[in-house]
Symmetry: C2
Subunit: 324 residues, 2 copies
């Protein structure tokens, strides 16, 4: 366990030394304990310089989604105010689900450096290697009818896409319903899961899998043609901590707007980023395959597919491919 | 644990004696083991007569939702084909949820004689005393968009109401969304819970709390004015096992019709049983109280409330009271 108060004290010194004596005094523990805590920080990836007489100096913090890192400089007021971090976990979705069941508040973030059983949409897996991505799940408790929950996925997709575009300078597109593309490859997936009664949403878990710093060879061969990372698209790496903060801030703002004003403002933003609109697509649905031109989205988040005879079919659940 | 095969053999004899020797042979256990199993049956509420030389004779089976009882004569092909029974459990909903998560098939029924923490709608409790009611949860896996799940609650309400009316001869009414009334009191509640992705329903748990044989004094004082049982309304008691079978058969038929034909046929049936239509009601919603005349239901299951100025407000989640 890292001592968060020690990190905060070292950060507050902004690269200057803080004496062991002072740290011992303000943390109320012995100087030997301070030394042990510093060792733990180093184990956790912090670079801390120790100089006799001068004390301790924070040289660099690791780019990991530790609560103390995510919260340092975070401007969101609810999203990320509570963060639970794991070096490795089966799935942040499952953990967030468990905590939401137990009463976790809206805004709780469960993050991990590695997921050993990361979940994707429709029962698929999500490749979640170490040191490379943002794998996190956000607990929401929206008071909206069940029918409006699919909109939330689209709101999240728009929000993430806008933040990513702004933060990285990349052109970010959305493939219905909620895959984000950059550099021609899928860089982010969103998994919206919920527990509800027929007339009350208990909670929504918004799962975000964002490939940040992977290189092409970090992907399994079968994903290589389709999957990419922000780093691959931009030719440079990004701080996962800073990106997470911006994403949470954007999500909080957009979520509040959605609850206040509904889906209308997001529909236009979503359509502006949609990479399939106006193009011939194949929608593989549980009820069969449909070919047509993607015309837009409906207020309930369904894709409007114009079929050969000019009729519009509403697609609720499908994998979409651009038609050859 | 009761020996279901022994019960089946005794039942097959239709009140005639079966010799210990024959039971020993067909069950492949010793006669002493047969004797022990018969003792277990008696513990479980079966009345079994044992006569030296003649053997064993089933006099009466208990009116409990044991799998072997529910399935004996059940005409449904999927609903109730697997039944899990508990003498007492916190909540059949929680257990069904757990089993559905673990992959339980559609049609699984979790039933209990007593619920110590029975759940009702909107986080309320459901009084579930012993020997009196049908407390059960049914696992469904409908391939419908999220927005259509509230319809399922209404389909269930109609189905249960029709079966109850037919089986008991009582006049059974529905108060939106899904409370069933007989004899002027609430006799049945339905709790529809679900786990889903934004574009795929993982499973729905249909919870049914049906007061069958309670007397007025069996209800806690605070419920006495509003809650009743079928027995109170009809002046006679009912077999819980037989009723459960008829309810499951009706639910299976109606569920299949719904999946095939949609909500339209049920909308009319629902409105025919609705006790609030055309009357002034108060709808207490999360967003405040609304007074108006209940005009009908929408295709998404919402109540259509005509307000003073003639506008129609759609009510998705509320408690409804007839206006004084």
């Amino acid at each position: 366990m890292i001592n968060e108060e020690l990190i905060r004290r070292l950060k507050a010194a902004r690269g200057q030394f803080v004496s062991g004596e002072e740290l011992s005094r303000v943390l109320g523990v012995s100087r030997t304990a301070i030394w042990k805590h510093v060792e733990e920080l180093r184990q956790a990836g912090y670079r801390v310089e120790a100089v006799r007489k001068a004390g301790y100096r924070l040289v660099a913090a690791p780019d990991r989604l530790y609560p103390v890192e995510v919260q340092d400089g975070l401007k969101a007021t609810r999203f990320g105010r509570e963060v639970v971090y794991f070096d490795a976990i089966a799935s942040t979705q499952i953990e967030a689900h468990r905590r939401a069941e137990a009463g976790a508040p809206e805004g709780l973030v469960v993050a991990a450096d590695v997921q050993t059983g990361g979940r994707g949409r429709l029962g698929r897996t999500w490749h979640s290697p170490p040191d490379a991505g943002i794998w996190m799940s956000l607990v929401l408790r929206p008071e909206v009818p069940l029918a409006r929950v699919p909109q939330l996925t689209l709101v999240a997709a728009v929000s993430l896409a806008d933040t990513l575009a702004e933060h990285t300078g990349l052109s970010v597109g959305i493939k219905w319903p909620n895959d984000l593309f950059a550099g021609g490859r899928k860089v982010c997936g969103i998994l919206t899961e919920l527990a509800a009664e027929a007339d009350r949403v208990h909670f929504v878990i918004l799962g975000i899998g964002l490939n940040v710093n992977q290189k092409e060879e970090d992907f399994p061969p079968e994903l290589r043609a389709r999957a990419g990372s922000l780093a691959m698209a931009a030719g440079r790496s990004f701080s996962r901590v800073a990106l997470t903060q911006r994403l949470l801030e954007g999500l909080e703002t957009d979520y509040d707007t959605y609850l206040r004003e509904g889906f209308a403002p997001f529909k236009r933003r979503w359509e502006a980023r949609a990479i399939s609109l106006g193009r011939r697509v194949v929608a593989r649905t549980p009820g069969g395959e449909f070919v047509g031109v993607a015309r837009g989205i409906d207020d309930d988040g369904a894709l409007l597919l114009e079929q050969g005879n000019g009729t519009i079919r509403k697609i609720y659940s499908a994998d979409l491919d651009l038609h050859a």
